[in-house]
């Protein structure tokens, strides 16, 4: 019973991780850019949700599409106006640029929202399922995270746009020759990455406190999930997220919560060396 509770905690956490990392993974896979801005975009989504709830009493689930749309526009413009100019340069350049943008966004968020943690409290009670206890808001978070990830999966699988994005990921030159406007796909992909970050932020705001101090932690999670699961695919992010969630949950149980993070990062370093394509990975992206 004891382990079942830990497992369930891990799966719930893992679904949230998958939702958090899927946008990052998409941007990395398609644009070949390590998006250091991702953590701050998640927090921005969280703050927008919180203020919609706090100031106007909007239910987070209703606010979520709006927040996602705002983030999409921000992401599209960022890519279209700024990152597209250097998107084909080496990683040192692209990573440093997105880090610079992250510092700017982070700074403005800290000034306007201050670093005090805020949280949407829904108070839905807990559900007790044969001895396994789980707060309902977390369960709701998990369901939302899975639904969002599922929608993205469907869009990538079956829409024209999704196929174009996948084509660009596989071979940008060939995609260009087939008449795909690669730079527009880049902008849209980055927009979707930001959209997923914003949606993940909205989900997180219901479950955990939101503060700018968490941007680095979220970014770190996205790194780990991507490397564990494999790059650029929705499925990879889902597998990576669930694996990381379960491992962290058990590591916290057996070695103490302060070591849960270390175990995740160590696992990532080992996987990087042993199997850089990740658990679901395809060769050719390392």
């Amino acid at each position: 019973m004891f382990h079942l509770q830990t497992l369930v905690n891990g799966v719930v956490l893992g679904a949230l991780y998958a939702c958090l990392a899927v946008g990052f993974s998409l941007v990395w896979g398609v644009l070949n850019v390590i998006n250091m801005l991702h953590g701050s975009l998640i927090i921005l989504g969280g703050y927008l949700t919180f203020f919609a709830w706090h100031s106007f009493g909007v239910n987070p689930i209703i606010a979520l599409p709006g927040v996602a749309l705002v983030l999409y526009i921000i992401g599209y413009l960022t890519q279209f106006l700024v990152i597209n100019r250097i998107v084909n340069q080496p990683v040192l350049t692209t990573l440093t640029l997105t880090f610079g943008l992250d510092l700017i966004l982070y700074n403005f968020m800290t000034v306007y929202y201050t670093a005090t943690p805020v949280r949407v409290t829904l108070d839905l009670g807990v559900v007790d399922f044969g001895g396994v206890v789980m707060p309902i808001d977390r369960l709701l978070g998990m369901v939302l995270a899975l639904v969002l990830t599922g929608i993205l999966y469907l869009v990538m699988r079956s829409s024209r746009l999704g196929r174009a994005i996948v084509a660009v990921r596989m071979d940008r030159t060939a995609a260009k020759l087939m008449g795909i406007r690669v730079h527009r796909i880049y902008a849209i992909t980055y927009g979707i990455g930001a959209l997923m970050a914003g949606a993940a932020g909205a989900v997180f705001a219901m479950v955990y406190p939101v503060t700018t101090n968490l941007t680095g932690a979220f970014l770190g999670k996205a790194f780990v999930v991507c490397v564990i699961g494999g790059l650029g695919s929705v499925l990879g992010a889902l597998v990576g997220g669930l694996v990381l969630g379960v491992i962290e949950s058990f590591a916290g149980q057996f070695f103490g919560p302060q070591h849960a993070l270390t175990v995740g990062f160590l696992l990532m370093l080992v996987l990087l060396v042993v199997k850089p394509t990740g658990l679901t990975g395809i060769k050719g992206f390392e």
């Binding site: 100019r85 080496p90 990683v91 350049t93 610079g100 700017i104 770190g220 270390t262 850089p276």
Partner: protein, 320 residues
Amino acid sequence: MPQSLRYVLFAAWVLALASTPLWAENYVVRLAIVIAMYTALTLSWNFIGGFAGYPSFSTAAFFGLGCYAGALPQNAGVPMVLAWALATLFVGMFAALLGIIILRLRGHYFAIASFALVEVVRLVISSWGNLTGGGDGLNVPLVSGGPSAVAQTFLGVMIAIMLIVFAVTILVDRSRLGFGLSCIQQNEDAADMVGVDTTRYKVYAYTLSAMFCGTVGAAYASWTGYIDPSDSFSIIMTVKVPVMCLLGGAGTVLGPVVGAAAFLLLEEFFWANFLEYNRAILGAIIVVLIFFLPGGLLRISYSDLLSRTVRRSTQPGATP
């Protein structure tokens, strides 16, 4: 600008830093220490990031490890300078062993691994409470003397480290190793094919880039007298150092010196004037750097720029 003139300017800059206690107050001396410290770190990063072109973001891991590797022996009674040497050795060995493993990765994966390294080392240090004091931090034996005497001592120490790294940079730049590294930077597969022992060279470069960070970290710990994980392993530092190097010109001998100085003086100015927005300004500097100075300050042809400006201003009828 002829090469010799550049070195004369460098010597003048070092003298200016070293003489700050004579003509300026403690605040400026402190700034000079920080400049010397970051110059040493940037020169170190240049080995792997500039010469070999590997996007390493692990400076803070080596710096922080150096802090602790210098502080712990001192607390056990080892004399200060010996402790610094131990820290250098320890961090160098750590990087060599680690390099053998993670230098097999390239591009994005290497960048991520080097980033993760900072986090892993920080987490290990902060959860190993009974040795390192964990999140409470660690006190380091203070150097005896008044504040200005201590500042002068550490100014000397940091400048000495900086000069050592600079000398090593010149040696590497003119040696087989430097040539091999620039081959790796341009095309690693081709370098491998024509017989450059890429793995060994990369490990050398990585070790060189780490060990002096260890020295600087150990000296920093003795200077401040107190270290804690969040101060020693800062993500900002791990990106700031590459940015300084890019600002000056990566892969050159004097670029890191120019970059570190220019960056820190700018930062000092912005800290003093826009305290609340200093991070945003740092971000803006990075964005401007990437877009407008891709080769760094040293790659700009200043004589060309000057003559163009002069020509434009003297051209008849240029301005209506």
